[in-house]
């Protein structure tokens, strides 16, 4: 009963005219930008984050959340219609694009839309039950536990985003941590890595790092590839027959369950959830032999999981205060800019923000379903703009975004530097997503690391003597050993071969 009461309270806040408008704009702009080749949710959010600075707190968070799942949906649309994969929609390319080849684009888009709606709805129920409970648990967390949780997050994100090359991701996360130490040390007031430059005293700006690595570096990478996408020009017949519709539902429900769970884990989130759901469909679906050849189930399951995980990944952020992937790290940054520290106290201190955001997610879901799905054929016309015309505009928006943070044009220099760095990283096969997570969590990690050791008088046993951190450390150890064993086996095989 309490959940219903809380949700009603949330809807009261989300259903104001302004918040509805922010939600709609967020979904719409997110979808449009997410559709563009080379712009996944991470680049979309970092590009649009500065726009929310001038909006009141509640509305800004609602809009950002809308941008996030809008971008997610836009991604899957471009994956289904044109096989343009982003990190977040690799799975949608498989069956979705097959369906396009079979002339069933509309059905694929409809399945993805409806499944997303189902996934989102299930996840919101999970979110509103679990987040307050986990918030209670978070009060038990000490500095050592926070440290261990963040490190586990680094490991998992490194593993998920780099497709198994965990060391690359880990190195990026740690470089992010190092970048986060630039500026004034909060404990001693000492200037670190500032080289007596006053503009570095407050550290490097998040927007500069994010837009450099995701905006500019990605643009240049796309320019290097010179791949031209032929815009989708076929007809879209959206509505399915009743028999087809009935096939969507069970897959979507399975996907929602998997997605809700996988979204909760450190390093989890949409990418992991899609693969999980797809594997599940391959095993348990009634039409499993069709999967991979353009089956509705192959689209519906992963789309539901994608959306569900995108929502439930808010749970660790809002109840413990630790983001579990790079997108959530950007969300954390947005919360902090607005003067709100997510964590166990957030639900108690800002119930209107928390429940308003939860309710707005469902409203956003409805917007996606009733606005974006029917309008998808018009949205697809962004592909008529050639990339050569698009990227100067994106560069301009990167400049505007950087400028708007401090109203300072010089910040664009820093963005440009990170663009070059990000490009070098990309060329070295170093994925920038863990870097952002490390950059945002770095100061928290240092703070908790120092506090834990201060409390234990320099004794590292504190990380294994507390039950929570001991469990997390054991998980990390198991993970690392598994990776080493896998590497050794793989090299043995390749040497033998």
């Amino acid at each position: 009963m309490e959940i219903i009461h809380n949700l009603a309270f949330g809807f009261e806040h989300a259903l104001t005219l302004h918040n509805l408008m922010y939600c709609a704009i967020g979904c719409m702009v997110g979808t449009l930008v997410g559709l563009l080749p080379g712009l996944g949710p991470l680049s979309t959010i970092s590009l649009l984050l500065p726009l929310t600075y001038s909006i009141p707190t509640g509305g800004a968070l609602i809009m950002l959340a809308g941008i996030y799942y809008g971008a997610q949906y836009g991604d899957s649309v471009s994956a289904i219609t044109m096989k343009i994969p982003h990190a977040s929609s690799i799975v949608a390319c498989i069956d979705g694009y097959q369906m396009t080849l079979n002339g069933k684009t509309g059905l694929a888009l409809f399945s993805a839309g409806v499944s997303s709606f189902i996934g989102g709805t299930v996840a919101i129920v999970v979110l509103s039950t679990l987040a307050p409970l986990l918030g209670e648990l978070a009060f038990l967390f000490g500095p050592a536990d926070y440290c261990a949780l963040m490190l586990l997050g680094f490991l998992c994100v490194s593993f998920v985003t780099t497709g198994g090359h965990m060391l690359n991701g880990l190195a990026m996360a740690l470089i992010g941590v190092l970048l986060g130490t630039i500026g004034t040390d909060v404990n001693s007031g000492a200037q670190r890595f500032t080289f007596d430059q006053p503009f570095l005293a407050d550290g490097v700006g998040l927007i500069s790092v994010a837009l450099g690595c995701f905006g500019i570096a990605e643009i240049v990478k796309n320019l290097d590839n010179r791949s031209q996408f032929t815009p989708f020009s076929g007809n879209i017949h959206l509505l399915p027959s009743w028999a087809e519709f009935k096939r969507i539902i069970p897959s979507a429900l399975r996907g929602s369950a998997v997605g809700s769970f996988l979204g909760l884990l450190p390093g989890g989130g949409p990418t992991l959830a899609q693969f999980g759901a797809y594997a599940l469909e391959k095993r348990f679906s009634k039409h499993r032999e069709e999967i991979g050849k353009g089956a509705i189930e192959g689209v519906a399951g992963q789309a539901a999981a994608d959306e569900a995980a995108a929502r439930t990944s808010f749970i660790p952020l809002m109840s413990i205060g630790i983001p579990e992937n790079a997108v959530m790290a950007l969300m954390l940054a947005a919360f902090i800019v607005k003067g709100i520290q997510p964590g166990p106290n957030m639900i108690g201190q800002h119930p209107e923000l928390f429940w308003g955001l939860v309710a707005s997610m469902w409203i956003g879901n409805c917007f996606l379903l009733i606005l974006n799905v029917p309008m998808v054929r018009y949205l697809l016309s962004v592909f008529k703009i050639p990339y050569a015309a698009l990227f100067p505009a994106i560069l301009f928006f990167c400049c505007i975004g950087t400028f708007s943070v401090n109203n300072n044009l010089d910040d664009i220099y820093i963005t440009a530097v990170f663009g070059v760095l990000g490009y070098i990283f990309l060329r070295l096969d170093l994925e920038p997503a863990p870097l952002i997570l490390g950059f945002i969590l770095g100061p928290m990690l240092e703070e908790n690391f120092r506090r834990a050791l201060l409390l234990s008088r320099g004794n590292f046993a504190t990380f294994v003597s507390r039950p929570i951190s001991a469990t997390l450390v054991a998980l990390m150890a198991a993970f690392v050993i598994w990776q080493i064993v896998a590497y050794v086996r793989q090299t043995r095989v390749s040497v033998a071969a």
Partner: protein
């Protein structure tokens, strides 16, 4: 640099040294009373270690993954961004936008002055909208 793995290791070690050497100059302190230098030193140590592992791995690999690094596009984009700031600070933002579009599009697959002018007009409209509706303190003229 033909070997991606080797270059990656070297870049990581360079970054580790870039942070580690200044960090060792700060007060390090003890674990129970950490100074400002301790944490960066620790982290850059790990980054350096990962770099070393990659170099060792690259020596073990039979077929190294080659590097693909194209200097042209990143330089064009860099020139566009830097010029944008310089022109916007000393002259007018509108002029900087025109510069940005005309220089950046050199990196595109084809070049069209007509299209560039169209993009400029669209961007002017956006800049104007940001200024009027979102209160961005960037004035075109």
């Amino acid at each position: 640099m033909k070997d991606q793995q080797l270059t990656r290791g070297l870049v990581l070690i360079a970054i580790a040294l870039g942070f580690g050497i200044p960090a060792s100059g700060y007060q390090v302190g003890t674990f129970s009373r950490a100074g400002p230098g301790l944490f960066p030193l620790l982290i850059s140590g790990i980054v350096g270690l990962i770099g070393l592992v990659m170099i060792v791995r690259s020596r073990l690999e039979k077929k190294p993954v080659p590097m693909t690094f194209k200097v042209k596009n990143i330089l064009i984009v860099l020139a566009a961004l830097v010029g944008f700031v310089v022109i916007a600070e000393h002259f007018k933002v509108a002029l900087a936008v025109v510069y940005l579009v005309f220089v950046a599009s050199l990196a595109g697959s084809d070049y069209s002055i007509r299209r560039n002018l169209k993009i400029c007009v669209v961007l002017f409209a956006f800049a104007y909208a940001f200024h009027t509706f979102l209160g961005l303190s960037l004035t075109l003229f």
